[in-house]
């Protein structure tokens, strides 16, 4: 590991996927994924469960490592061996389907932990930052609450605040609303919608077609480990070309 190597992900990067392949137990999950997620824009990845959306996101911050191919954040090839992983990850936010909040810490401590531990902020600075972020996601009054005392939607909003606490220029959302009760989905999507107006690159794996249509700059349809179709939402949702996309949109009730 070359810890000294400075990773230049300081402005919101374009994320470039080049022929990304990944198999688990010789079952191909990603088979040559190639597309660009534009900088400072929201890219929504849609597609049926098991299409490889989650794995693709996990390859970006290297919770999984691609077997072959490259993923560039700006100029940095994050799929290269020997890349300083911790440094790269510190600049990429990730929001998980199952929230993964730290259950032993309060909402505020969940948010302030990484700035304190990874960035070396003082406890006061980190807490101040955490409270500001909790306010931003509308949860200031729950700063002292433990995750178990929060609803799923609130937990996911804390998780978004936690990701924002590291000032990421890129945020990965892995089906952030799929584990939520329907009535809790909207509050999370609203926070994400607001975020999308900032100078951040967002890649969102989602089943929320309305969100994709309204917010995304680019929609990528994946099926069975390949990108079947991509384009601006108007094109993807109004004029789908491939039979697989037409079929999928029919199944989710958009067409």
């Amino acid at each position: 590991m070359t810890e000294e190597m400075e990773v230049g992900i300081d402005s919101a990067p374009t994320v470039r996927f080049e022929e990304v392949c990944k198999s688990f137990n010789s079952k191909a999950v990603l088979s040559g994924i190639t597309f660009d997620a534009p900088a400072m824009s929201t890219t929504c990845i849609i597609g049926p469960s098991g299409s490889g959306k989650t794995t693709l996101l996990r390859c970006v911050n290297r919770l999984d490592t691609p077997d072959s191919g490259h993923i560039y954040l700006g100029d940095v090839d994050v799929s290269a061996p020997g890349i300083p992983l911790e440094q790269v990850r510190a600049k990429i936010g990730m929001v998980f389907q199952s929230f993964n909040l730290f259950p032993h810490l309060s909402a505020a401590d969940n948010v302030s932990l990484a700035p304190r531990v990874v960035r070396g902020l003082s406890a006061e600075e980190a807490t101040e930052k955490a409270l500001a972020l909790l306010k931003r996601v509308g949860l200031l009054e729950f700063a002292a609450a433990k995750p178990t005392q929060l609803s799923g939607g609130q937990q996911q909003r804390v998780a978004i605040a936690r990701a924002l606490a590291m000032d990421p220029r890129l945020i990965l959302f892995d089906e952030p609303t799929s584990a939520l009760d329907p009535e809790l989905v909207q509050e999370v999507l609203e926070v994400m919608g607001e975020l999308s107006r900032e100078k951040i690159t967002m890649i969102v794996a989602t089943h929320e077609m309305r969100f994709a249509r309204q917010i995304a700059g680019l929609v990528v349809f994946m099926d069975n480990g390949v990108v079947v179709e991509q384009g601006p939402p108007a094109e993807i949702f109004e004029h789908p070309k491939s039979p697989r996309l037409i079929n999928f949109l029919g199944q989710v009730g958009v067409l």
Binding site: V29, L63, M94, Q97, N100, H104, L113, T148, A163
Partner: protein, 259 residues
């Protein structure tokens, strides 16, 4: 009938014999048992922690070595391990502590208990959902940072009961040091009780020793469960419960699929 009662009384609870042996048990046996226990526990925890890290290592050969250690010391009777370590080491010329069997005994018990404790620690860490590691990693934490701030605080509560049970076993296993031969002043509770029992042809000293063991082990258990409750208050809820509630609340819950 009276005869039977008298014999029972003499065998298990003879007041004169009790009066004669109790002072030695309290003055010599109890402190020695406590010192041996504390030393063996400290060593067991250190060894256990090291082996647990080995068992959690990403290197397969290292994990393999750890497994061998655990299998051997958990699989061989304590009495055999204690003989082999406590008598074997000095015999083989590895006389770490000269002729002091007391310290060999501490070492032997620590090495054996380390195997059990490592498994408890390992399972504690393994019991934390992988999502917790991943969330820590995604925030840029190193392995050590994730362990220290996320994993260990959560597993501490889960392993406390098992760890207490094991520490009680350490205390009881200190009785085995008599095997190594001790000087009079080094004898712990059991050695003194056993010597006196054969001298007086009555088991009264052993009964007394038994009570003294209880005097150590029972308060220890209570101490730990009160600690457990205190941690519970400061930690909000039990880890297990919270994982479960979030699983219930979240539908797909903890450790969702990777694809």
């Amino acid at each position: 009938m009276g005869n039977v009662l008298q014999r029972l009384g003499h065998t298990f609870l003879n007041p004169q014999i009790l009066a004669k042996t109790l002072p030695t048990l309290l003055k010599v046996g109890l402190p020695n048992t406590l010192i041996l226990s504390a030393g063996a526990m400290a060593l067991g925890l250190i060894v256990g922690l090291c082996i647990a890290l080995v068992l959690l290592s990403r290197r397969m050969w290292l994990r393999g070595l750890g497994r061998v250690y655990v299998s051997v010391f958990r699989g061989v009777p304590h009495i055999v391990s204690i003989y082999l370590i406590g008598q074997g080491l000095p015999l083989a010329g590895i006389s770490l502590f000269g002729g002091n069997s007391y310290l060999y005994a501490m070492l032997a018990i620590g090495i054996v208990e380390g195997a059990y404790i490592s498994e408890i620690l390992r399972s504690g860490v393994r019991g934390i959902p992988t999502g917790q590691f991943e969330a820590s990693k995604a925030l840029g934490m190193s392995n050590a940072q994730a362990m220290r701030h996320v994993i260990i605080p959560q597993s501490a509560r889960a392993i406390l009961p098992a760890l207490t049970g094991q520490l009680n076993l350490v205390i009881k296993n200190t009785a085995l040091v008599f095997l190594l031969g001790l000087q009079a002043g080094q004898r712990e509770l059991f050695a003194i009780a056993q010597d006196n029992s054969s001298n007086y042809a009555s088991l009264t000293p052993l009964v007394a020793a038994g009570f003294l063991y209880l005097l150590i082990t029972v308060p220890l258990s209570y101490l730990v469960s009160s600690l457990d409750r205190r941690m519970g208050r400061s930690a909000g809820r039990v880890r297990g419960t919270s994982a479960m509630t979030s699983a219930l609340a979240g539908g797909n819950g903890v450790g969702a699929g990777t694809i």
